[in-house]
Amino acid sequence: MHTVERVPGEELAPGTVTAERREPGPDAPLIGVLALQGDVLEHLRMLAEAGARAVPVKRAAELAGLDGLVIPGGESTTIGRLADLYGLLDPIRARIGDGLPVFGTCAGAILLASSALSADGTPSAQPLLGVMDTVVRRNAFGRQVDSAELDVGVEGLEGGPVRVAFIRAPWIESAGPGVEVLATVATPAGDKIVVARQGRLLASAFHPELTGDARLHRLFVDLARRSRQDREPN
């Protein structure tokens, strides 16, 4: 039987990928991208550029052997609902409990949070992983007409501010004491957290995967590489 597997957004004609693909070696960390919905392809490409082997993940069994997981941008209600329905939430939480590094961008940052607020500040009832000590306010920067590209300085990232896209973006409303704030953005409502890290969990309110700067992905691939080495001491 002939089925056509493709990641939405991929080329429709074979053999026309313009960007040269580097083949990472077998020792490169293996990073999954949760592929239920959203901009999975952009993350797969950025991870490959940052030196990882990157694979889409749609089922709990595919979490085995991963050195890291990316939860992409998309609609957090859609991704959360499908992750719940297909039994992915608990296995992901269990892997995180064992030290799996996870990077969530936009919708991914919402899914990592312990609770989510709607844009107006009222609680948003939706399935979450609830693994980061953060409260995230959805669409906090506004609707699509307020979506924007901007340069954001991220602590620990060399080479100056990173160009990123905020698309109907959330911000991190508050973060617990165990959470390191790596970047904030000045807004009319005050400085708001847009990048945060808690141990091996990394969350960004924006999309570094859309603008071609792979530095945040490299930071994450390094986290995954170190976690792999911790698990497999020579």
């Binding site: 089925t3 056509v4 597997e5 493709r6 939405p8 957004g9 991929e10 080329e11 429709l12 004609a13 053999g15 026309t16 990928v17 313009t18 592929a35 239920l36 919905q37 959203g38 901009d39 999975v40 749609k58 941008g73 998309g74 609609e75 209600t77 859609t78 609902r81 499908l82 329905l85 919708a107 709607s118 844009a119 948003s124 669409n139 609707r143 699509q144 007409v145 307020d146 979506s147 924007a148 590209e149 901007l150 340069d151 954001v152 300085g153 602590e155 501010p161 896209a165 905020f166 698309i167 109907r168 704030v181 790596l182 970047a183 904030t184 953005v185 000045a186 999309h207 859309l210 603008t211």
Partner: protein, 301 residues
């Protein structure tokens, strides 16, 4: 020390407009006519809703002139859900599009489902901050819309029929033409651009990359989970479902089923499971039985 950025924000760039469509990939966008349907769509896993007064099947039945929906109704839907809300403007009706932008809708669909307002010109979509999605039946049409500034393309299909054959035809036409372009040499691309009646720069870009520079969804006649998965396997990045959900016997269940089939589009076991006992699909009319004048696919050029 934490770095605080004082943003020099650039709104309405191509990247930002196309970026929202990128976030919708692998998802289902559902037509809704009121806040209650919008909530059902959101709870079923829709990535966005299309707010309109009548679904295409009713527009087809009622006849008359179909226009942009009442702003009050669009605002009620925007207030009811957290997912993006799209709304339709008539082809060429740039003031309807200005109104929709002022309302803050997240995407404008310059749609053949409404009665065209201009017989020669589509909207200059570069002039807007809000992004546009446009329908296309073939590659040339898709590239002309991109030239005008569309940030997302959907194949047209034949809206309001529940008959998937036109959607298949249009997806195959677009994808087939893209594949063909990638086999041409540089010299041949000029003649091909003329044939396609499309900007040569876009033709060259598609030939080099093997894809449109924007997200390609499908629309028009998708009524079952298997229809949605068929479109995904044919190369769609996501699915619009219009009349197919709320004109069926059990909208909530069908909506959930189509969402799952769109994510797991190569898994026949999933598609079989979600298709079981779904209730009556929308009644449907054969697209080919329609008189030429009743075919929405021929609106726009």
């Amino acid at each position: 020390m934490t770095e605080t950025s004082t943003p020099q924000a650039q709104r309405g760039t191509d990247r930002v407009k196309r970026g929202l469509a990128d976030m919708l990939k692998g998802g289902v966008i559902m037509d809704v006519v009121d806040a209650e349907q919008a909530k059902i769509a959101e709870a079923s896993g829709a990535v966005a809703v299309m707010a309109l007064e009548r679904v295409p099947a009713d527009i087809r039945r009622d006849g008359g002139v179909a226009r942009m929906s009442d702003p009050g109704m669009i605002e009620r839907i925007m207030g009811a859900v957290s997912i993006p809300v799209m709304a339709k403007a008539r082809i060429g009706h740039f003031v309807e599009a200005q109104v929709l932008q002022a309302l803050g809708v997240d995407y404008v669909d310059e749609s053949e489902v409404l009665t065209p307002a201009d017989e020669a010109h589509h909207i200059d979509k570069h002039a807007f901050t809000v992004p546009f999605v446009c329908g296309a039946t073939n590659l040339g049409e898709a590239l002309r819309r991109l030239g005008e500034g569309a940030a997302m393309i959907r194949s047209k299909g034949e809206a309001g029929t529940g008959d998937v054959v036109q959607a298949t035809r249009h997806m195959r036409a677009i994808v087939g033409a893209i594949r063909r372009l990638t086999t041409l040499d540089e010299t041949e691309l000029y003649a091909e651009a003329k044939e396609l009646r499309a900007p040569v720069d876009l033709v060259r870009e598609v030939a080099a990359t093997g894809k449109l520079p924007v997200v390609l969804f499908t629309a028009g006649g998708i009524a079952t989970p298997a229809d949605a998965a068929l479109m995904m396997q044919l190369g769609a990045d996501g699915v619009f479902v219009g009349s197919g959900i709320f004109k069926s016997g059990d909208p909530e269940r069908r909506a959930r089923a189509i969402v799952e089939a769109t994510t797991y589009f190569t898994d026949a076991d999933v598609i079989a499971r979600v298709s079981r006992n779904l209730g009556e699909p929308m009644v449907g009319i054969s697209g080919d039985s329609l008189a030429t004048g009743d075919r929405l696919e021929h609106r726009g050029w």
